[in-house]
């Protein structure tokens, strides 16, 4: 970890218990590893994107950073403090510095609370209710570009884009250093998606924020992230600078993801890499390289040996036969 690093994750493992007593008695697998041996660094003032399909473990990873999921093994270093195993009470000041935004723009807002109450909540939770909360609410609404009278609205009276702005306002209420955003543009119209991304970019520049963005939308990644990591079955298969990865993806899975974007041009010739079969179950991880069951470059060796992490330029990846080298 260098002095530049705000967040440093080393060899992180997170697992879930599945099945109840019957499954255990039957001797079936009772644990799935949703995050498996993940390491990365996030530098101050930059944006890091986690990309992957559903079930790849990206949301679990984000929730673990926030202490909502217990760490099984590995370390999380945030502003020089180790977070793994901290109690809720010890996590509280950390959560103030590292707020999280959830996927559903409306659903992540408490339905019976007005926008005013929602935006006051961070102050109340962190013992700052002596501040002029009305003034704070007005300030936050202005920061995210919503009119003042929105304070009296309820979540069901907001459009997706407006609800997302309220979510952003709540996240930045207490001058955080790192915002963790899970699918910040999910469910939004294209014209609104741009607004939200512009807002996040603005806030990052103005407040000197760092961001960790989770998304399955590669176009979003390109517009917002400095560095990115591609997750598959709970592991990072490739991570590096966003532009470098978009220009020359090395891992076959990254290449497949990049080519899997429906193109808004009916005449564009596709050099598409179609992935056969569905994502394997975490209960039955493939042997060797876990991507070999869907990989078109796979050779005999891939189903036996797990590839060791390798470095190509600034990019780290785990693959026996990387592309474009």
């Amino acid at each position: 970890m260098s002095s530049q690093d705000l967040l440093s994750v080393r060899d992180l493992h997170v697992s879930f218990r599945v099945g109840g007593l019957p499954a255990r008695l039957a001797g079936r697998a009772t644990e799935i590893e949703a995050v498996s041996g993940v390491s990365f660094d996030l530098q101050r003032g930059t944006t890091f994107a986690l990309v992957g399909e559903s079930g790849s473990g990206k949301t679990t990873l984000a929730r673990t950073l926030n202490g909502l999921q217990p760490v099984k093994a590995g370390t999380i270093l945030f502003e020089g403090q180790e977070l793994q195993g901290l109690s809720d009470a010890r996590m509280k000041p950390v959560r103030r510095r590292m707020p999280m935004m959830f996927q559903d723009p409306v659903g992540s807002l408490s339905p019976r609370l007005s926008v005013r109450s929602l935006l006051s909540e961070p102050f109340i939770i962190h013992g700052l209710s002596s501040r002029d909360l009305n003034a704070e609410v007005t300030r936050l609404l202005a920061l995210v570009g919503l009119p003042r009278d929105f304070a009296d609205r309820y979540p069901h009276q907001l459009s997706g884009g407006q609800a997302r702005r309220v979510g952003v306002a709540r996240a930045i209420a207490l001058d955080p250093v790192l915002v963790v955003a899970d699918e910040p543009t999910a469910g939004l119209d294209v014209s609104v998606q741009g607004e939200v991304l512009n807002l996040l970019n603005d806030l990052r520049d103005r407040m000197g924020l760092s961001m960790l963005i989770i998304t399955h939308n590669l176009h979003v990644v390109r517009q917002i992230a400095d560095r990115m990591a591609v997750m598959y079955l709970g592991r990072f298969v490739e991570q590096g600078e966003t532009e470098a990865i978009f220009r020359t993806p090395h891992h076959p899975y990254t290449a497949a993801l990049l080519s899997a974007n429906p193109e808004p041009d009916p005449d564009k010739v596709h050099e598409r890499i179609t992935l056969p079969a569905d994502v394997p179950s975490l209960l039955a991880r493939p042997t060797g390289c876990e991507f070999h069951t869907r990989c078109q470059q796979a050779q005999a060796r891939c189903s036996v040996d797990a590839p060791a992490p390798a470095t190509v330029g600034d990019t780290r990846l785990t693959c026996h036969f990387p592309l474009n080298i």
Partner: protein
């Protein structure tokens, strides 16, 4: 031949705060063996359109004008409930965003596929054989043994493919697909689009494909209509619209799609302003309050300007191509 012709359709809802015109003067055709895309953002009237076609409008909604002609001779706005029920699932099939809407969680997939064929008069064995063939078409591995399985034993992508198989089972004339790939991951999304394309060709049905995703429409559809605030603002072949969009809304919508940007830009394009209140439609052009080309002329209802061929844009300034600022 035209499978579906929607002519000057208007749908209004009576709400506590007044009458809301959800669809206004919507016209388009779905020719046989073709895929027509409907693109638009939330509030554009996509769902109302589907419900109007299927005869499933909410109690407070009414078709205030126009007709929906199916297979040349049936006006769906005049059919009674029983006749509509006979069409749905047999001649007009639907696939929705959430496949669980089509699947019963407590019945096996085989049982459900058999139930759809209740009119076929086939034996149980023949019905199962057809189910297996259909599952194979949608690329479910090992379909014979999977007939006995329940919906929760399949992954999300497989469930959607099974829903597609069930929809196409009775070889309908028209498949209405409402955002069927939106909830899927990118790799599954393209696979599902390609599957739909192949099946459509094989079965020879028409597809009405509703999506907010321009890329998906571009890949799948031959023709498309662009909807805004309950009106069709532009229609034509997919190629015409993607290469030579003439309505300012279509142009802006295309510009907003981040997939069109091949590098990082400092500010992503957006569409300023908000959707008008459908209880108080703006006078003249419905997009005029948000349009930077709007002038005095736009306070009158714009004509459907023909750009050439089937390409029509409902705009007073449809002569300005994309990339030329006003």
């Amino acid at each position: 031949m035209t499978v579906l012709a929607v002519k000057n359709l208007s749908v209004a809802f009576h709400t506590e705060s007044g009458r809301l015109e959800a669809l206004k003067d919507v016209s388009f055709k779905v020719p046989a063996n073709r895929s027509v895309g409907v693109v638009g953002e939330s509030g554009c009237g996509k769902s109302t359109l589907i419900n109007a076609i299927l005869g499933l409008l909410a109690d407070n909604g009414e078709i205030s004008a126009g007709e929906i002609v199916f297979e040349g001779d049936k006006d769906l706005t005049r059919l009674d409930a029983a006749a509509m029920r006979n069409l749905r699932g047999q001649r007009i099939a639907t696939v929705f965003q959430d496949p669980m809407g089509a699947l019963n969680p407590v019945l096996s997939v085989g049982r459900q596929m058999r139930d759809i064929q209740y009119r076929s008069g086939l034996s149980k064995r023949d019905k199962d054989a057809r189910s297996v063939a259909m599952l194979r078409k949608v690329r479910i591995p090992d379909p014979e043994s999977r007939l006995a399985q329940f919906p929760h034993e399949f992954s999300g992508g497989m469930k959607q493919r099974i829903a597609i198989a069930m929809a196409l089972m009775m070889e309908p004339a028209l498949l209405i697909a409402d955002e069927p790939t939106t909830a899927l991951d990118a790799t599954l999304e393209v696979a599902t689009i390609e599957l739909l394309k192949d099946l459509q060709r094989e079965i020879g049905c028409s597809v009405l494909f509703i999506s907010h995703h321009l890329g998906v429409i571009a890949e799948l559809c031959d023709e498309m209509i662009v909807m805004y605030a309950g009106e069709v603002v532009e229609s034509g072949t997919t190629r015409e619209i993607f290469h030579d969009a003439r309505h300012p809304y279509t142009q802006k919508l295309l510009a907003c799609d981040p997939a069109r940007l091949s590098r990082r830009v400092p500010r992503l394009p957006t569409i300023a302003g908000t959707l008008p209140d459908l209880r108080r439609r703006p006078s003249g052009c419905v997009f005029q309050p948000r349009c930077d080309r709007a002038d005095a002329q736009c306070l009158d209802v714009p004509p459907g300007a023909s750009i050439g061929g089937s390409h029509i844009a409902r705009c007073w300034h449809a002569d300005i191509p994309l990339g030329v600022s006003a």
